[in-house]
């Protein structure tokens, strides 16, 4: 299969994503510079990596939303292509409107970089099928603006359609206030769209996807994607 890793000026997790896709998963992988408008049709999955596209100027993701490649990502996603946005990638998906809500400044106003526990709320996506539902995983976060907010109607819809995929939890899977690092409503750490082919998440699975790093909890995301593409159901 073929992964595409989008690169904006200021992306800084692009190499990590490329490394996991290409070397850990052993799949063909390309970097895709934001300025071109290549058709994404030949890709099986597009990764929008973390970082600080355009220095987070205006609002995180707001300028990247008008990069030429973003229209192509939109088309690709609307046609059913698999898109995963991690951290700044999640912020860009939100600004683009492919995912609902907003990611506001962390409640503490601090940049938080630490391992957190997540409860996998749904394994019914192409990105989480290798996890079991309610599994608790440890994946690091590193962000300043990850405080998920949406109006009540949107939250209701997310719940009804089972679109909340990851929630911050304790090591025992309690989605308590204490386990919430940034103030996100309902401890939301990751959501998908209604068609379940677009996932946005603040934690960084690419930073914990091989044994040498001491944590492989994020690897199943990439394994799920590869499995879905190789053996479509």
């Amino acid at each position: 299969m073929k992964f595409g890793v989008i690169v904006f000026p200021g992306s800084n997790c692009d190499h990590d994503c490329y490394h996991v896709a290409k070397h850990v998963m052993g799949q063909e992988t390309d970097y895709i510079w934001h300025k071109g408008r290549p058709s994404l049709e030949s890709y099986d999955c597009v990764i929008i990596p973390g970082g600080f596209s355009y220095g987070d100027y205006l609002r995180p993701g707001a300028i990247a939303r008008y990069s030429p490649i973003t229209d192509e990502i939109k088309k690709y996603a609307e046609g059913g292509g698999l898109v995963i946005g991690i951290c700044n990638g999640f912020q860009i998906l939100i600004e683009t409107g492919l995912l609902p809500g907003v990611l506001m400044r962390n409640r503490s106003l601090k940049f938080i970089c630490e391992d957190v526990y997540l409860k996998v709320e749904s394994s019914d996506t192409p990105f989480t099928s290798e996890y079991s539902a309610d599994e608790v995983v440890k994946i690091p976060i590193a962000h300043h603006d990850g405080n998920y907010f949406a109006d009540m109607d949107t939250l209701k819809k997310l719940k009804q359609n089972n679109q909340i995929i990851f929630r911050y939890s304790t090591a025992d899977g309690e989605t308590s206030v204490e386990a919430n690092p940034n103030g996100s409503l309902l401890n939301i750490a990751g959501i998908c769209n209604e068609k379940r082919n677009v996932l946005g998440m603040m934690p960084h699975p690419e930073r914990c996807a091989e044994g040498i790093l001491g944590n492989e909890d994020g690897k199943k995301i990439f394994e799920s994607i590869v499995k879905r593409v190789m053996q479509p159901c």
Binding site: L58, A62, G101, R107, L109, F149, D151
Partner: protein
């Protein structure tokens, strides 16, 4: 021609930066402060050939598309 765009958080949206500023103002003795909301101000220089109405229309479109995020922010356009 110049336009000013004020972008502020909608009511009900938590503004932790505003809160921090409020606490700091209280700390340095401004006890009369009841609330602080922090926003953004954009000064946009425009082609002088535009009419005021056209300028307002254009800048409103700019605010809707880019300067503000309508999910959490309101904006006000003033043409000078």
């Amino acid at each position: 021609m110049k336009a000013k765009v004020f972008v502020t958080f909608k009511e009900g949206i938590l503004d932790p930066q505003g809160k921090a500023v409020q606490h700091s103002l209280e700390t340095i003795g401004f006890g009369e402060v009841l609330n602080v909301r922090q926003g953004k101000l954009f000064e946009v220089a425009l082609d002088d050939g535009l009419t005021k109405d056209d300028a307002k229309k254009k800048v409103t479109e700019m605010a809707e598309k880019l300067l503000a995020n309508p999910v959490m922010e309101n904006f006000e356009v003033v043409i000078e």
